[in-house]
Amino acid sequence: MKAEFAVVKLATGIAGFDLVGYGGLPKGRTTLVAGSAGSGKTVFAAQFLTAGIKDADEPGVFVTFEESPRDIKENLLSLGWDIGELEKQKKWAFVDASPQIGEQTVEVGGYDLSALLARIEAGIKAVGAKRVSMDSLGAIFSRFTDRSVIRGELYRIAQALKSMGVTCVMTAERNQEYGDISRTGVEEFVADNVIILRNVLEDEKRRRTIEILKFRGTTHQKGEYPFTIIPEEGFVVIPLSAIQLKQKSTNIRVTSGNADLDTMCGGGFFRDSVTLISGATGTGKTLLVTEFIGGGVKKDERCMLFAFEESREQLFRNATGWGVNFEPMENEGKLKVVCEYPEVCSMEDRLVSMKKAIMEFKPHRVAVDSLSALERVSSLRGFREFIMGLTSFIKHQESTGLFTSTTSTLLGGTSITEAHISTLTDSIILLRYVEMFGEMRRGLTVLKMRGSQHDKNIKEFTIDAHGLHLGKPFRNVGGILAGNPTHIDSNEIERLKGMFSDA
């Protein structure tokens, strides 16, 4: 009995949205999608139909109040969707309620919108539609003087669609990003379900988010989720907190590419872990990345490197200097190097394109050099969300991840990057300069490693044509990580040792 009345969800097929909506949109009901200009309402409405046709073979009717079908077709073609073809296949029908050029309608006495309803019903019958999108309601309000009539008529249309078992998306304009739901107050009658799209300016960068405000009678994720609109895929929601911590975990160790470091880490990195290497400029972060990849390829693993600081030529030349030759690896298809300026696209687009590249190449190892370069072009929140999305994705792919981040000071110190992502990565390796007796030396320590014992020493290391070599621990220096190394007398060390052994 209960199940009969429960609200069923309809998977929209819009990437990520169904996770946020706990399965999709309430089936057989009308959902209002409100957003300011340029927030992606039309794309959402159109994709609701194209995804339905593609994924579920559910034809759709698109009712347009604003743009002509011709314009919509042109615009959607730029996203790679051929609506004309879908029309030919009788999967998509337009109801053109857009204003006609030069047409002026005069009102003389009472009227209703029966013709619109009849046309929508005819469109639904013609293609056997299960989904209807109406875009956008503001345009129809501006064409008639009596708003209360239009409201009542839209309510009637929503009810008629409900009785036909059709799931409907209506879009409406908003004036501000935070404030009234819609300009025309339509939410009062189709308010069962409300979704808000935002396009907020934050730190000089546009940030698109989607929020499910309410789904009457059913549940959904709360809060704003970032999304992006990209060619071919259209609307992609990045469902951060919907990501569940359920990635598999194994005890399989893989080599870091450096035998000394493997020993320090208790036998290497875990296979499905993400490690962060933090250090000042020139401490050897890119070297560790190079070794990580070299070690992977030697074990016949596929590796992928995203580089945001150096060009291909630079990377390849530097690697050769450390005894790792990237070129044959790439020719054999064992390695893929992606070099791009961080400024090229937004963080949301970056995440989607990186995920896509990883999915295509299916690497065992993924390295990112460096996160700090990406941080530069992002807002704090956008950056954090990016790291979260990327780490969880890498783990889901059961790949090993290695990220680098640059500290802002030469001696000691932490970077903002670290402060925000240290809890998201499984292991942290610090590379630090150590100033001793008028000489710059370099030290490495494994700060944390989830689920494993590791060497807690700060070890000195050197770099030569064969890579990085760990030496002895800095036994008689303190304050390295704090950034003010001080020499400690060896007698003092003996004394401290004695103190603890007595206790």
């Binding site: 109801v95 053109d96 309620a97 006609q100 047409e103 002026q104 309608t105 005069v106 009102e107 003389v108 006495g109 009472g110 009227y111 209703d112 919108l113 029966s114 013709a115 619109l116 009849a118 046309r119 019903e121 005819a122 469109g123 129809i140 008639f144």
Partner: protein
């Protein structure tokens, strides 16, 4: 005789509602009062929704003056004869 039917109207209705009947009688009266000669085609969009799609009709009733040009659209039950005659520029035959 050529002056006969110098107005061609199409009236879109949705079934025989009292509002559409009012629109028909209001149009007849207005034309008769001004002494205009006209021909009226009534389209029931419940029977022919494709006609509404073609003419891009939203509201019911909608009256379209097809000729003489320019084409004019008026919506409503046409209860205000004065506005109706003005808008459609109805003159005696």
């Amino acid at each position: 005789m050529t002056l006969m039917n110098n107005y061609l109207f199409t009236l879109y209705i949705a079934g025989q509602t009292s509002r559409s009947q009012r629109a028909v009688s209001n149009l007849r009266q207005a034309c008769e009062n001004t002494g205009a000669a006209y021909e009226l085609v009534i389209v029931d969009i419940l029977e022919r929704p494709e006609a509404a799609e073609q003419a891009k009709i939203l509201a019911i009733p909608t009256l379209v003056k097809e000729s003489p040009l320019p084409i004019r659209k008026v919506i409503g039950d046409l209860s205000n004869h004065e506005v109706l005659i003005n808008e459609l520029d109805i003159k005696p035959a």
